[in-house]
């Protein structure tokens, strides 16, 4: 499965909402990284990832999240990852990234 990336700016919440569906892997991570940099160049704002339908993530996907976190940190913006599937959450947990990236399930925040 490939990755579909759907981006919109939420005027009310003043953040980017990024819907990811499919596989965030070696074949799609560069596209996502470029797209994220593009929208942040357009408007430097918080980002909320909705990943309920993200089936797969690997180290290249985590790499994108880490470099994004670094960019957002510099600009005092935040990111949140919403509704990961169990297998995706597991990858964040074993790499310890759940401790630096905010992950929330159905609006609630889970402690890392």
């Amino acid at each position: 499965m490939s990755l579909s990336i759907d981006v919109k700016y939420n005027e009310k919440k003043e953040n980017w909402e990024v819907d990811l569906v499919g596989d965030l892997d070696i074949n799609s991570s560069v596209t996502l990284k470029d797209r994220l940099n593009e929208i942040l160049d357009q408007r430097e704002a918080d980002i909320a990832f909705k990943i309920r339908d993200l089936a797969y993530i690997d180290s290249t996907g985590l790499g994108v999240m880490i470099s994004l976190l670094n960019r957002l940190d510099k600009n005092e913006k935040a990111m949140v990852i919403m509704d990961p599937q169990e297998n995706v959450l597991k990858i964040f947990k074993i790499t310890g990234l759940d401790k630096v990236i905010k992950i929330s399930k159905e609006g609630e925040s889970i402690e890392g």
Binding site: N27, Y56, D58, G63
Partner: protein
């Protein structure tokens, strides 16, 4: 002799998903549960990622799935430049450099990981997961 399934894919990012999916089908046939199959899928993805990203001079990646009783065993081979595994050190997770997570993820998800590599000699990584 035990049966073996061999698969060769071109050494390029767009084919890694095919290797991953094949691995899930084989693990499923061998009776692994969903979580174990996911672990195997990620581990094989990471090994293939490394062949693509670090084994650039290799035109193919070969996966040998050994259909052993009670365990999943795959050898993933590339003919790229290889590396000195002795000099590999696990990532400092607290540093979050965004690099060097692949082998660590494989080690965490699989029961065994054997790396045979050398400068100029290509790389073979053997991954094993035992059935509970």
């Amino acid at each position: 002799m035990k049966d073996k399934i061999t698969m060769t894919i071109p050494n390029a990012a767009e084919y890694v998903a095919i290797a991953r999916l094949t691995a899930t089908v084989i693990a499923n046939t061998q009776g692994f549960d969903i979580e174990e199959i996911e672990d195997i899928k990620v581990a094989i993805g990471e090994a293939c990622n490394n062949a693509v990203m670090h084994g650039k001079n290799s035109s193919n990646i070969t996966l040998d799935f050994h259909l052993d009783e009670g365990r999943f065993l795959v050898e993933i081979t590339d003919e790229g430049d290889g590396f000195k595994f002795e000099e590999y050190s696990e990532p400092v997770l607290e540093a979050y450099e965004g690099r060097g997570l692949g082998l660590f993820i494989i080690k965490t998800l699989m029961d065994d990981m054997i790396v045979e590599s050398g400068m100029g000699n290509g790389t073979r990584i053997t991954l094993i997961k035992n059935k509970e």
